[in-house]
Amino acid sequence: MISATDQALIKRVQTLQCQDSFSVLVERHQSDLRYSLRQMTNWDEGLADDLSQETFLKAYQSIKTFKGSAKFSSWLYRIAYNLMISHFRVARNREVTGVEILDDTPSSQTRTETSQQDLHRDLARAMKVLPATQRMALHLNLHRELTHSEISDIMEIPLGTVKTAINRGKITLRQNLAGWNSEETR
């Protein structure tokens, strides 16, 4: 079952409600999703993992609606993005940006990690000032290397909006990272 394709596993979950097959899917996609959500939440590991868990739960509950026209990972990102937006709204954020609820010091962790992890944290910290749309679009485009069209499908926004979000996001991110030395992380 481990070597089965996503499509085959999804079919088994849809027809037989096979939870083992779904667990294989979770195992396969959890790391990417958890990392992406860490980037989206200013490296708040607790929040990122909670959102990831909720994403997989929602995916299991609504797997019958998955038609297979998009990649399973894209479908997961769509669910995760919607959950993240809802979370920020529930947190009574005035804007949809999610900026206000993101604390400057991510979670309660100490910075004892290696410099490799600092690169990821610094990126997450630099991205936190971006509105959620720009943050997600930028991450999917630059980190996950998805096309504008795929991002448009995931975020359910027009292609033009995706392009604008990415361009604006890049400008802001460059400003935020000005003076940041990437050599330090190596």
């Binding site: 979770v26 868990q53 490799q116 000005a178 992380t185």
Partner: protein, 107 residues
Amino acid sequence: MSKPINLDDLFKQARQKEPYYGGKDFVSRVAVDIDRRKKLSKTKETMITGSAAIIGAAMTYAYFPLGMILQQVPTSFVINPMTVLMAAGITSISCGFAYWLAEDKSL
């Protein structure tokens, strides 16, 4: 003046150094959560069915015209000779028909 940052390079670096999160604990947490929600929905279903049954029973008890039906049940019978003759006739015909059916070899 500092050199403008190359975002493509930076993200490429992040991509290459992206940590892998072990999934065993996470997968079991998701599985437990799915089971918990399933149980929750079964409990919910039972509660809804139970509540509907109680409401239905209460409404039936309140509105069912039991008294009116009981009132319509006759409390006495009057048997006259004609009734006895009619009952005897119907019984004889039924018995005769049953005997004929039993004896008729063509059936």
